[in-house]
């Protein structure tokens, strides 16, 4: 056979070509791009500011009556007439506990800083979930078949979707971080601008793992409705069984068990420790180790499944 037509595309070449296609599609659709920017803004504004948990513990909210009469036999020695406690003093006492309480439970002194970081995980989860949808569409419109009839590597098809989801998520995460700072995110005293690179690395790892999971789920699917149902079923449970909005330590045991294997918890934890909380090398290393293993395992599974299942 003549070799003049043989170019044998490298894995990189094919992946980049397909990723470029997805990114171009995304950038060419101004409304989707605008939504991508608006969505985190709305979430930050509504969620982050409305759920003002830090404020619950402030002076204004702990308003006990000036005199609290206590009756009964639990005070030793028993007194038939009961005792009166100075409520005002107690209120002030609790109020001074507030920030400490916040710090102990959430690790930061204001809830906005806590949840705006969680927002990044939220965006990563939602963006990667839809990477599965796009392969269903490619199949329906025949694009996938066309790509499969070319010598491009099957792994490149999956990997381009993963990369695309990662780029999008990182773009949105950047906007969130910038806005969070504008809206009053308080970085911790240990924060170093170099940590931002580590933040992106952590986001990329989770994107890699999560989009591989969702792509693997969508590999054989020809119905976007099925994919939509899967996404709807698991997005909120995954979100709430993690430390995104609320600390794991305050959850019942069985939710804690889920949250502890939920990779979203680890991304959130890593970013928090890098930005708003006290920096802790060993904890961050552990988060990264978990995220790396998660990403490696699921991207390998995804690529193996794509070899197996893309050709029927």
């Amino acid at each position: 056979m003549s070799k003049m037509n043989q170019h044998n595309p490298s894995m990189f070449h094919g992946t980049w070509a397909l990723t470029k296609r997805e990114l171009k599609k995304w950038l060419k659709e101004p409304i989707i791009l605008l939504m991508a920017i608006l969505q985190p803004v709305i979430w930050m504004g509504l969620f982050g500011k409305a759920m003002n948990i830090g404020n619950m513990f402030s002076v204004g909210n702990i308003n006990l009556p000036p005199v609290i009469p206590i009756q009964g036999n639990f005070i030793i020695p028993p007194q038939s007439s009961g005792v009166n406690i100075n409520g005002t003093a107690l209120s002030q006492m609790f109020a001074s506990f507030g920030p400490t309480l916040m710090k102990n439970i959430f690790g930061v002194s204001d809830y906005f800083s806590y949840m705006s970081v969680g927002m990044i995980s939220f965006i990563v989860l939602f963006t990667t979930m839809f990477s599965g949808m796009s392969i269903v569409w490619d199949r329906r419109l025949g694009f996938l078949n066309k790509v499969l009839s070319t010598p491009v590597s099957r792994a490149a098809i999956i990997f381009s979707k993963v990369l695309n989801a990662s780029f999008r998520a990182m773009f949105q995460a950047t906007i969130i971080l910038a806005l969070a700072v504008v809206f009053g995110l308080q970085v911790s005293s240990t924060f170093n601008p170099v940590y931002v690179l580590a933040v992106y690395a952590a986001i990329f790892l989770l994107c890699l793992g999560l989009s591989s999971v969702f792509l693997a789920l969508a590999l054989r699917s020809t119905k976007w409705e099925t994919q939509m149902a899967i996404v709807n079923l698991i997005n909120l449970p995954l979100m709430f069984a993690s430390n995104t909005f609320f600390p794991i330590s305050q959850m019942p045991d069985w939710i804690q068990a889920i949250a502890q294997v939920n990779p979203i918890s680890y991304l959130t934890d890593a970013i928090r420790r890098l930005t708003v909380m006290e920096f802790d090398v060993s904890a961050v290393m552990f988060d990264f180790a978990f995220l790396s293993i998660f990403a490696a395992v699921f991207s390998i599974i995804g690529i193996m499944l794509s070899w197996r299942y893309l050709t029927k």
Binding site: M1, P9, R21, L141, T150, V152, T311
Partner: protein, 333 residues
């Protein structure tokens, strides 16, 4: 057979363990010809093409393209073939140019070569003026031509066309045939196509295989297939009041003569050659032919003969259904 560009031996595809989509088909496609699979929707045409272009694994049997085994050497096959799928697969959000370049990238063609080929191919299919417009704005015929350009970007030796004019109006269809002929001439390829349009098979294909329920029923040139029905019908009348049935019967290629009140209905092979012969013979014997007409059998009659049903009846209802489905798919996108 061994020189054939595409060879299929007992090629079979069974879906879900019981749906026999392609049932032990054997055929060979010769170098440089246009080979067509003709049959109604659901006959197994697209399944066969999908196996040949390596996106479906055969359940049984084997096939090779340019000597490469479709199952074991799929990457080699993919490198030497071009595919023009049934659907419009070009990305609607990208421009025509970007689509062709994307296809080139999928074959790993270096950028400078890709640019050169893209502009050459877009010129060939007369889309140069629209190359920077989004595919969304293209008409059906333009999309088809863009698919052709994409399918040719790797200079394939074998081009697979799955229903190349599906859903196009008659004029656009004829124009598309012209493009296909032009491209074939330009690149000297072998073409394998499927169609359920009889006119298309007749106009475009060198040889056709009629396929129904996953089985190949007959293979041959459109001419041969039509002749196999027993030939053309020549109807003639003579001035003289005599029975010339015997005389006409003695002419070569004439198979059957019926005298219907002075008008003769002659079934003859190669009617276009036989008819002048009949006139000549009658004239020599002193008869004068006053009227003569000839009808050639169409592929529809061939189809009817071999499958026992008319292609057109099936075509109408399915066509409407398919058109509706395509519209819905576009709308949802």
């Amino acid at each position: 057979m061994s020189d054939d560009v595409i060879i299929a031996e007992g090629l079979t595809k069974v879906f879900n363990k019981h749906l026999m989509a392609v049932d032990h088909v054997n055929f060979g496609v010769k170098h440089g010809e246009i080979f067509g699979f003709l049959g109604p929707n659901g006959a197994g045409k697209t399944t066969t093409i999908n196996m040949l272009i390596t996106i479906l694994k055969p359940t049984e049997g084997k096939a090779s393209v340019l000597g490469f085994d479709i199952a074991k050497q799929s990457n080699e096959v993919r490198n030497v073939i071009g595919v023009v799928p049934q659907e419009y697969t070009a990305d609607e959000d990208l421009t025509g140019w970007e689509n062709v370049i994307l296809c080139a990238d999928l074959y790993g063609i270096p950028r400078n070569v890709a640019n050169e080929r893209a502009s050459e191919l877009l010129k060939l299919v007369e889309l140069s003026d629209f190359k920077d417009k989004k595919v969304q704005t293209y008409s059906g015929g333009m999309r088809r031509r863009l698919e052709l350009a994409c399918g040719l970007v790797n200079r394939p030796k074998v081009l697979f066309l799955d229903e190349p004019t599906l859903g196009l109006d008659v004029q656009t269809r004829t124009a598309t045939w012209e493009y296909i002929r032009k491209l074939k001439k330009e690149f000297g390829m072998t073409l394998f196509m499927t169609t359920h349009y009889l006119e298309e098979a007749d106009a475009l294909c060198d040889r056709i295989a009629i396929i129904d329920h996953g089985k190949i029923i007959v293979v041959g040139t459109p001419q041969d297939l039509k002749h196999s029905l027993g030939g053309d019908i020549i109807t003639l009348s003579i001035k003289e009041n005599a029975d010339v049935s015997e005389l006409i019967s003695s002419i070569e290629n004439v198979k059957e003569v019926k005298n219907e009140d002075g008008s003769y209905r002659i079934k003859a092979e190669y009617g276009e050659v036989t008819a002048p012969f009949v006139i000549e013979t009658l004239r020599r014997k002193g008869y004068t032919v006053t009227k003569l007409s000839m009808t050639e059998p169409t592929l529809n009659e061939v189809y009817l003969e071999y499958t026992g049903k008319s292609m057109r009846d099936i075509e109408e209802s399915r066509e409407a259904f398919r058109a509706q489905r395509m519209t819905m798919m576009r709308a949802r996108a």
